[in-house]
Amino acid sequence: MSQMNYAEAINEALHEAMQLDSSVICYGLGVTDPKAVFGTTLNLEKQFGPERVFDMPTSENAMTGVAIGAALNGIKSVMTHQRIDFFLLAMDQLVNGAAKWHYMFGSQNSVPITIRLIIGRGWGQGPTHSQNLHAWFAHIPGLKVVMPTTPEDAKGMLLASIFDPNPVIFLEHRWLHNSMGEVPDGDIRVPLGKAKIVKPGKDITLVAMSYMVIEALYASDYLEKQGVSCEIIDLRTIKPLDWEAVMGSVSKTGRLLTLDSGFSTGSVAGEIIARVSMEKFSVLKSAPARLAMPDVPEPTSPSLTKGFYIRAADVAEKIMDMMGRDPSQVRKELKEPKPHDIPGKWFKGPF
């Protein structure tokens, strides 16, 4: 067990996987450059050589197909892109190819590839460097979509993703790369498709993923002092989603608020509300609610992103309202951090 940050945990998982299995390779634009994709790919080339760890042409679509082809002959590729937005060029290979291969060829072979994509918000990343498109990927049969929140889960779920026989979209929130945590040593695998109750509670179920779990925790600390007990579920995997965990918690609390770092329409948060409303209508004490990003591209200027993100105060205010309590004091006590568009003082930009 060691203390490390999320980026270091990713790096450790990659070392572990490549050590365990010589068929694991790692590539992506910048994986061997001095910045090493926010430090996540540091020393890999040195340790495992340029055959298995390499920089690549700026060809997101073909390089996804290359991963598919290599996978058909037993190679497990971990491909990385510095932003999810770049990967949109690869939708044909991902959606028409990787996601369907196992199914459309009668389950004879599979495509064990892992695609690491970085999502985020803030600091002027703007319309095409900040998207959170997990709902898109979750919509496609055959893909697994993973969004770990803690360093421990980042390591354990990356290892599980690499050794999963299916294509896995592994989403890292840029605001989490510097978050610290205890991480077990060695080959630890956190099973995909299992949510985690990060804080048990009795009044309301708060379902979140990735960085939204952090906002949920801040909100919950505040609400605890107001006498409201939140149960926070970190989904960890968006697809397949752990419905048992969600339904079990809502059955207990009778209330549901879902948080989502993506756009509202067609969001994972909306999907959860739909399923819970259909299956658990009789246990609900109040209408379920959702807090997701508005259906608006993220603007760039810091003046335009003030109040734009879902923060702990939004969460706490909504929950007070759902509990029939007066929410008017929330914003006085839970202020939007200043500056509002960085995860902490460690983040100096530019991306």
């Binding site: 390779i25 055959e51 298995r52 690549m56 042409p57 060809s59 679509n61 073909a62 390089m63 996804t64 197909g65 290359v66 991963a67 598919i68 082809g69 290599a70 996978a71 058909l72 002959n73 037993g74 190679i75 044909d92 290979q93 028409n96 190819g97 291969w101 196992h102 199914y103 459309m104 060829f105 009668g106 389950s107 004879q108 072979n109 599979s110 495509v111 064990p112 049969p141 055959g142 697994k144 050794f163 999963d164 026989p165 299916n166 397949p240």
Partner: protein, 334 residues
């Protein structure tokens, strides 16, 4: 085109005839039966384009990889793919090569390293390049063959794939069958007049060769040389062949009457039909060869008839199978 038949050439010519006649017979039997409505998926037939796949069949080894396109029946058969499983797949039967999940456009036979075909133009190109990367990583001498058409050359992924294959000197053989049409759009509205696809690709830093469909033996030499170069580690090679599909883009009809191409053009290509020219060369002198041809034809005719009987007699998959196989299970990855 007349091919000299002698002791040293006859075996090869008969082998070529075997593959060309087999592909033609399969495709034409699909066309003949298609309107029965039992093959309920789009089919893209290769009638008229048999020569290149037949040369391929005689040049490549079983261990080499191949991927292909929506018009992939001929490539599947040339690579040695199981005929019964292909016809059954087109009929949507559980005995099909993709168990009824894929249809005519998703053919696979892992016994002969025929790794798949795609219904999206250009989609299988990088997959073939990835297979070549895997050969290189594993240190085998397998090459990866990527079939594509002239339309795929207009897709961005083609350039991305050729570029990566060139950067890494991967053992890829790109085989471009230029049949002049992308659905109903002819080359002149898609690519600048007078520009050679092969020369353009050569400018990207890989070797190329160009062959006309009507000289089978010359094309066979081109492909042999290309395969040997790729296998010996000289990097990827791009082969372009001009060819012509006789029937409509998708389906079983002739479509010269609908106005996108002319009957004259079609007849020109029929005159230089490689299969017919080869057959007439082989039957020119000597009844011995004629007897051999008859026996090849007879064998193939009954093989094809049996394949259709097999497909018709095979059961459909259970309805519940539609919901199975979305994810691969853990053990399948090992």
């Amino acid at each position: 085109m007349v091919y000299a038949v002698n002791n040293s050439s006859i075996e090869n010519l008969l082998d070529l005839f075997y593959h060309m006649y087999r592909i033609r017979t399969v495709e034409e039997e699909i066309a003949r039966r298609y309107s029965e409505g039992k093959m309920r998926c789009p089919v893209h037939l290769s009638t008229g384009q048999e020569a290149i796949p037949s040369i391929f069949a005689l040049t490549i080894t079983k261990g080499d990889f191949a991927v292909s396109t929506h018009r992939g029946h001929a490539h599947y058969l040339a690579k040695g793919g199981n005929l019964n499983a292909m016809i059954a797949e087109i009929y949507g039967k559980s005995t099909g090569c993709s168990k009824g999940k894929g249809g005519s456009m998703h053919l696979i036979d892992l016994n002969v390293n025929f790794m798949g075909t795609s219904a999206i133009v250009g989609n299988s190109i990088p997959v073939g390049v990835g297979l070549a990367l895997s050969s290189k990583l594993k240190g085998t001498d397998q090459i990866s063959c990527v079939f594509l058409g002239d339309g795929a050359v207009e897709e961005g992924v083609f350039y991305e794939s050729v570029n990566f294959a060139a950067v890494k000197k991967l053992p890829v053989l790109f085989i471009c069958e230029n049949n002049l049409y992308s659905v109903y759009s002819d080359l002149s509205v898609r690519q600048p007049k007078g520009r050679s696809i092969a020369k353009m690709v050569e400018a990207m830093g890989i070797d190329m060769s160009f062959g006309n469909d009507n000289d089978i033996l010359a094309n066979q030499q081109l492909m042999k040389k290309a395969v040997s170069n790729v296998r010996s580690g000289n990097g990827p090679h791009f082969l372009e062949f001009s060819t012509y599909r006789w029937r409509e883009h998708c389906g079983h009809n002739f479509d010269n009457d609908i106005g996108y191409r002319s009957q004259d053009e079609f007849l020109e290509w029929q005159v230089k039909d490689s299969l017919k020219l080869l057959e007439s060369s082989l039957t020119k002198d000597g009844s011995d060869t004629t007897t051999k041809l008859s026996s090849i034809k007879e064998k193939i005719d009954s093989e094809v008839a049996a394949a259709f009987e097999f497909a018709e007699a095979s059961p459909f998959p259970n309805q519940s199978e539609a919901y199975e196989g979305v994810y691969a299970k853990e053990e399948a990855s090992k």
